[in-house]
């Protein structure tokens, strides 16, 4: 009796385990750029737990949480330099504005690390972020 493969790649499982254990806000993308997990520290910033939100496609994520440009308009995530870098298997860093569940706009600084398995290539990315304080420093 054969069975279909439904399990996440081990490197994503281990990344989730790591993010669960740290107090830096972070989320995890799969190879389709869907948000498949974010940790409690990120939930505290976003104002919604991952258990409530569940898996979100990149479009759902953008619609709900952003990011937004300086003019307040939603950014085209596909066209962002950071997205292109992750797709190319390179790390990326940037400053963005996101919107918490209560509508509050929050400036963040984010670092993204692609997760590339030797066996089957890209599995996704791990993104750690820090809310910026009003004077521009890490909060």
């Amino acid at each position: 009796m054969s069975s279909p493969r439904s399990q996440k790649p081990l490197e994503l499982i281990l990344a989730r385990n790591l993010l669960t254990s740290i107090s830096t806000p972070a989320f995890l993308l799969d190879a389709d750029a869907a948000v498949v997990f974010y940790n409690e520290a990120a939930a505290a910033v976003l104002g919604r737990s991952f258990e409530e939100a569940g898996r979100m496609s990149s479009e759902q994520w953008t619609e709900t949480f952003g990011p937004f440009g300086k003019d307040g308009a939603p950014l085209d995530v596909d066209g962002m330099a950071t997205t292109e870098a992750i797709r190319a298997g390179r790390p990326a860093h940037g400053t963005f504005t996101i919107r918490a569940a209560n509508g509050e706009r929050i400036s963040i600084e984010a670092s993204a690390f692609p997760i590339v398995a030797s066996e089957h290539g890209s599995s996704g990315a791990m993104i750690l972020f820090w809310p910026l304080s009003e004077n521009g420093g890490g909060g």
Partner: protein, 290 residues
């Protein structure tokens, strides 16, 4: 499917008068498929005695979960390696760093060994396990990476209606809550799901585990929770700590059976791996209705 345990010890061989019943040899399990083909899972020191009785001139497949010494140490003493009429295929995890042959040759070469791989009289070949399922001796095999230190595989063998899962080195609870996590986020879940027999790491008692978290092995409660979540029909606790004597393991087994019952399961479904033990594995027998 017949399963014979040739070595159930973990980490390092542990011979001695207090280890005689469960045995001191490291990981090795022989699987005889319904069609008579034989597969050998891991090449710990148990493979030496397994090789003595293997028929000459047969093609032998050895499936390695990983290359830690307790899983390959017996290779150099495996009698069929020294028979010119034997073909051996060794399967193991791929690595971007070096081929499987080159990595194993680090052990079977000077100064650790008096012989080199190329000097072995048998015909031996090395194969990275495929990413997808493949066929061996009439069985369907799946290998997947699991949580352990270094690149490590677990295996799922499907022979007709019978499924065996072999995950001897595994710490799925590291940084994770096995009881609550969705199946897709549990290491090894798909490999072990619904297995007629799950052979799984259970190196530590619960009070020993915290001091060994992150070492790549499981404590008793985590092993039982994993087995319950994957709905394994039978469970063989494996990879015994080298410090665990026969007396300790007797008590450990009783504790395990009690805990398994607490999880709503039947104590007869659980056993401890014991060197020389043989198990007949088959699918559930359908209920007969009058």
């Amino acid at each position: 499917m017949q399963v014979k345990v040739w070595g159930a010890r973990g980490s390092v061989p542990a011979p001695g008068p207090h280890m005689n019943r469960y045995g001191g040899n490291t990981s090795c399990v022989q699987v005889t498929l319904a069609g008579g083909e034989e597969l050998i899972l891991d090449a710990g020191t148990g493979i030496r005695t397994a090789g003595i009785d293997l028929q000459r001139g047969r093609r032998i497949h050895i499936l390695l979960t990983h290359l830690h010494l307790d899983h390959i140490q017996g290779l150099m003493f495996f009698p069929p390696c020294f028979r010119a009429d034997t073909e051996i295929t060794i399967w193991g995890p791929a690595s971007p760093e070096a081929s499987l042959e080159d990595r194993i040759a680090r052990y079977i070469s000077a100064p650790l060994s008096p012989v080199e791989v190329r000097e072995l009289p048998c015909s031996v070949s090395f194969r990275d396990t495929p990413v997808t399922e493949w066929e061996l001796g009439g069985a369907t095999i799946r290998a997947e990476a699991v949580t352990h230190r270094g690149p490590t595989l677990g295996y799922r063998l499907i022979d007709g209606e019978t499924t065996l899962a072999y995950v001897p080195d595994h710490e799925p609870a590291l940084g994770a809550s096995l009881a609550a996590l969705e199946p897709e986020w549990i290491s090894g879940f798909d490999l072990a799901r619904g297995a007629d027999l799950l052979i799984h790491d259970c190196q530590y008692a619960d009070d020993e585990y915290p001091a060994h978290a992150g070492w790549g092995h499981s404590g008793l409660s985590d092993t039982l929770t994993f087995a319950r979540r994957v709905e394994a029909r039978r469970l063989l606790l494996f990879h015994h700590d080298p410090l665990h004597s026969d007396e300790f393991l007797d008590d450990f087994g009783a504790t395990a059976k009690q805990a398994w019952q607490t999880l709503g399961r039947d104590a007869t479904e659980l056993e401890l791996g014991m060197e020389g033990s043989e198990l007949s594995v088959g699918p559930p027998v359908p209920a007969v209705h009058a």
